[in-house]
Symmetry: C2
Subunit: 382 residues, 2 copies
């Protein structure tokens, strides 16, 4: 085995854990925190609880809640101005992937300067970041534990993947109660994002035993609990399981990186600003079919973790059963099945394909991909 690294934040998980946000931030040396969030989280009441925890911990703070879905470079820059103007020295992100990724982007610019596009790619950040506490309110992105931040470059109309160990927050707070205020369609699409993280990390060429245990458990949990979580906003067992699945899938992909589904999804999401989880849900079975010959044993193991009886089947048959399971899950919870359903047309494919081939996530995809092959995959999924 070559030398591998694994890094994760301190994790605080459980009901009411978000009430510890202020205290956690003080513990890592903060005097004044910038709270980064979005209007949806503010409306749900969770942001207020975090603010209350700052007051109780006697932590000064400012707030920047102008984050949008598929967050843009301009939001990061605006947030950074607030951080500097308000003389903050730490960051608390509160929300789903968008808020947390902007929080990380602000942290980068606050101590490293320049523009956010300067940091696209792997290991481009050189100065230490301010202390970061990330409060996750969506079982999806895994950003609360990951070394990733994904920000839209407005000029180039593409998502930039920024990967650096310094983007791993100091403390991640995951309170499953926050999932109870989410609409079913958001639960469905973010849940499919979790599944995509787990599957891409498990077959990544950078997977290790430390990422495998996380990916496998996440896969098992999503297989069992995503349907009931979509079915009911108040199913506490399902929400806890999906919060844990999101966390574990995040730990897996943060350290094993991802694959072609995310590379393509970043390309589409940056240009057309469609929901990330929805695009992943569409792409996942097509990418699994393409990747199957690269790791038949691992795909067959996935089927077992999904609860499929694979006795007497070849690895290839087991792998196909896993793909079928994903298709049925997607149908059951109502995520879209084809790129055409969300407005992607044949004319867009060339740009999407060439942009995806440049994405950092493509490097760890288990099967090589040529322009012809990715074009074919995209045409199949139209």
């Amino acid at each position: 085995m070559p030398i591998t690294k694994f890094v994760m934040p301190e994790v605080i998980f459980g009901k009411d854990s978000l009430e510890q946000a202020g205290e956690a931030c003080v513990r890592i040396g903060a005097k004044k925190a910038l709270i980064v969030s979005d209007s949806g989280v503010a409306g749900s009441g969770w942001l207020e609880k975090v603010i209350q925890s700052c007051r109780e911990a006697q932590l000064s703070f400012s707030a920047f809640i102008d984050v949008t879905t598929n967050p843009k470079d301009s939001e990061v820059e605006a947030g950074c101005r607030t951080f500097i103007d308000q003389e903050c020295d730490a960051i608390i992100g509160v929300g789903g992937g968008s808020a947390l990724d902007v929080a990380k982007g602000i942290a980068i610019l606050a101590t490293n300067g320049g523009r956010i596009r300067d940091y696209e790619g792997v290991d481009k950040i050189h100065s230490p970041l301010p202390p970061m506490v990330m409060v996750m309110t969506t079982a999806g992105s895994g950003s609360e534990v990951s070394q990733f931040s994904v920000i839209v470059d407005s000029e180039r109309e593409k998502k930039m993947t920024i990967i650096s160990k310094t983007l791993v927050p100091d403390i991640a707070i995951i309170d499953p109660q926050t999932l109870m205020t989410k609409e079913a369609d958001l639960t469905a699409m973010t849940g499919m994002d979790v599944l995509t993280h787990a599957i891409e990390a498990y077959v990544s060429i950078a997977a290790t035993p430390l990422t495998d245990v996380q990916a496998k458990n996440a896969l098992t949990l999503v297989s069992r609990y995503l349907r009931p979580s979509v079915a009911s906003r108040t199913n506490q067992e399902a929400k806890e399981a999906m919060a844990m699945a999101s966390l574990q899938a995040g730990l897996a992909f943060s350290n094993a990186i991802l694959g072609a589904a995310h590379a393509i999804s970043h390309a589409i999401g940056g240009k057309h600003l469609l929901p990330h989880g929805e695009i992943n849900a569409i792409l996942l079975p097509y990418v699994m079919e393409y990747n199957l010959i690269a790791a038949p044993r691992r795909f067959a193991e996935m089927a077992e973790l999904m609860g499929v009886d694979t006795r007497g089947r070849t690895q290839r048959e087991g792998g196909n059963a896993a793909i079928q399971f994903v298709r049925e899950l997607s149908a059951d919870i109502g995520t879209p099945r084809r790129l055409g359903d969300v407005g992607i047309t044949r004319e867009m494919i060339r740009w999407i394909a060439s942009t995806a081939l440049e994405d950092a996530c493509m490097i760890t995809n288990p099967r090589d991909m040529s322009m012809a092959q990715i074009t074919q995959l995209l045409e199949n999924s139209l």
Copy 2:
């Protein structure tokens, strides 16, 4: 689920990873490191490689290599004097559990003052510790990733268990090659220690899904690879698997804590200075028998992970199969089977029992234990 926390260091794992020790220490801000180790590690050549890595990273250092097995408070105090006299600002531990636990003890005294016994128990450390890099050279203690340090109190002749999140090192380096210089009997007893960590963490009342995935994988790896690792010093696959098992069992017990086997083992080890892994190897099946009624499902799951076919068996039968597996493993690799074999006598039991009941590890044992019950268990294992 109540609020739970999980914390671990950055991990660097793989062949030749110990050559990164110096650079890792510089990365976390060290100007001059105290290298803490023992004469066995120095003799094996691994210490020299770490020293070479410091030179290459242009990191100044002093060395303290007077650590013994079952390390004592006096060693920690002597090491701390060297740390202060030599104006060190960081610590590199190199070795098995003893060297790493002393390294942690020195870190405590360096910034918190007083005597090491002041910190016995849970969360008694208040000032931040110097940066710590731990280089593991024995697949056993898990100290390179854990929030534990176990030090003998010479006056009271007992092992003190010190547990604090601040004892989690900044960086853990695990190079499986270091296991190739170990004698078979050391491989056997430290391997049984790994197994004890995995099993006690899996049935601990503080277990969580995050500790479970680590404990289960560690259990699977030990079941498959401890025999071949004892059989051959040069079986690279077995050494890598046992190094990973040790790491994962360490992550599990660091966050889920342990149980009665460790509580008793600490009592015996502090008084009679017997090898920790050897005592655990003896106690483990007796403690499993005692704990079986507290968690029959979990014990049956262990049997499956050990490769036992549990179909058609009750949970209790499955649990008994796991206990039988441990007994056979111990017999195969030649670790002692009874306390009488290592010099423990009936007269010693009363002191051992009362001391063990006070150990911090007893708190998370899944079945309550009275003085009469622990005495009976010890008599059974004589």
